[in-house]
Subunit: 132 residues, 2 copies
């Protein structure tokens, strides 16, 4: 398989696959022509990485997850711990965004949004000390 096929089948852009090789997330063989030669196992790993990334794991976490995946003697506790920590980070991020959202929604609601210059949104940004 060449990189184009793998890109299509894994859903990852070819550029991204090259990047993953460059940072040592995956090691690839080369054909006589210099082209990367992908085995099924490489495609499999890349799909694994793609799914982990879609769940928001960082590249370094993906590296660890891959290592655990390939370690037949792993303890699932470690995987669970890693995933649990990541879950906490996601929760923190959600909470942060929801707090922003609340403030912003309040301000948007309070703004007339017409052709006059008076704007509670700008007033809040300017003053900090605001209503309700």
């Amino acid at each position: 398989m060449n990189i184009g096929d793998v890109a299509q089948r894994s859903g990852l852009p070819a550029k991204t696959i090259r990047y993953y090789e460059e940072i040592g997330l995956i090691t690839l063989l080369r054909g006589a022509n210099g082209y990367r030669a992908f085995r099924d196992s490489d495609l499999h790993k890349l799909a694994f990485i793609g799914r982990a990334r879609a769940l928001g794991f960082s590249i370094e976490e993906c590296r660890t997850l891959l290592a655990l995946y390939e370690d037949a003697g792993r303890e699932s506790g470690e995987v669970k711990r890693l995933a649990g920590e990541h879950l906490k980070q996601i929760d923190a991020k959600i909470a942060e965004l929801q707090s922003m959202r609340a403030t912003l929604a309040h301000l948007v609601h309070a703004c007339a949004g017409d052709d006059r210059p008076d704007c509670p949104i700008l007033e809040d940004l300017a003053g900090g000390a605001c209503c309700s």
Copy 2:
């Protein structure tokens, strides 16, 4: 005022203030010794930017907001539109994170997390095709 005072009073790191000047988000005067000389209005603007950033506005959005803030003839409708778009982006981000969270929480729940290697989390990442 020197940068240290402004950093403390605005809550922004000195490095960040220098960066904001470098990218032209704010223009600062210089004293005879080469030090940045901050006026009250500069502090005010920086606090404005800090609050906008805390609400998740990008630097470019901050630039626009500042311009609107300083334009006495602005139409609040434009501010509201900008904020409304940003609100939509926040909502999209929250939805994305909540979707991740749901999958991940499900997997974490399903994993025994003991000293045995069997792990539904890794199985899901490997296979994609998973349970319930």
